[in-house]
Amino acid sequence: MNNTTKVTPASISMPPVQVHVRGTYDWDSQTTRYPEEPEYGIYASSLDTVTGTKSDNGGSDVDSDRNSLPDA
């Protein structure tokens, strides 16, 4: 790159607001249940990381760093 000026994508980028959410996916109702209903950013669906493992109770733990970045 021929860097003649100083603004780069990295220099103006910033981390999205994130909220950590841990829930359990319930196969019967086909919805994810949370210990308490989170409000902040929960309705954003862009996810940073998601892991899912089947648990003994028949559900699947879903543990995500959910960023609050709507796909605007």
């Binding site: 780069t8 910033m14 607001v17 996810l47 028949g58 699947s60 605007a72």
Partner: protein, 347 residues
Amino acid sequence: MDDTLTRDSPFTDVRGNSVSDAPTDLLIVTNSTDATVDLLFKHGLPNRLHVFRFNFDLFEAYDVACEPENFELVDPIGRRCTLATTRKAYLRKPLPASNLSAEAAYLQAEQSYALRSILNMLWRCEKLVLVEPDAERTRLDKFRQLSVASRYFRVPRGMFANRPIKHWTDANLTVVKSLSGAYLGDNVVFTTLINPEELTTGYPWFLQQYVSAPFDLTSVFVRGRVFSYRLDRTFLKETPDWRASREENTYARGTWVPIDTSTSLDARIQGYMRDLQLHYGRLDFLVDHAGDVVFCEVNPNGQFGWLDPTDATGLISTIAREIAPDTEVAPLPYSPFGVPTAASGAT
């Protein structure tokens, strides 16, 4: 079409019926952490019996089989879905995971390919409703969106360049945006005010004229119906992008206020979406100080749950009715498979 794959299927559905007569009816393709789909269940979708939710992030929990003319999905409790048992299919957000090992990345790529094949099968058979897969990455890129939008809305000048721009109007009032929305490490390039002459040569930049606006406006188009919401931007001190704000109430309920755009905007949205051949989209606008609406973009699979999580405006229940297995099937108006559809226009 034969509903039996060549392998044995030892499953029965949740009602104890044999697999051959178990209609699933609605297939939702998404992730298990998609709260928007949870809201659809909460506000109108029938639970369990006629809906199959396929969560891409839990791919390995399902039995998945796919042949050229059929597929079979079976979840851990025996709920089953095939091409023949699917009356409608709705694509939400089967987002891939990141930061994977080499083997996990390979597995995910193969799973993504299989899922794309299943979606194409459903699309070809006119079972996909509302959301067109990858429309913004294929035929409706931002430049096409802006070009068609200029027929109906005021559109700020936008361009891509990989060198400093010296002949740009209002040089000090320009924003850069990400075309792809890709992550840069753990960061995101939000809409940012810049001086275009200070951009580093060689890097890819999407520039757009800055619009001074006291309000954001977003309108959700659901096959002919429009739901609009407005955000007061006066709290945005340091950024033109509300998503970059660190104000804690930005996403809180009630921040986006429903507004009636039936006389001022909806007819133009109808025309625009008809031209794009979309049955669903979330259109983002700015409202300037004179009250004029300025088009930003349309997201053909834009999320909507956070706008009205209690369904006070009927947005979520309207989408639930559209995709419900017992209502009219309105196939996607655009098809890449050369098969004309009956629903070429919004109703």
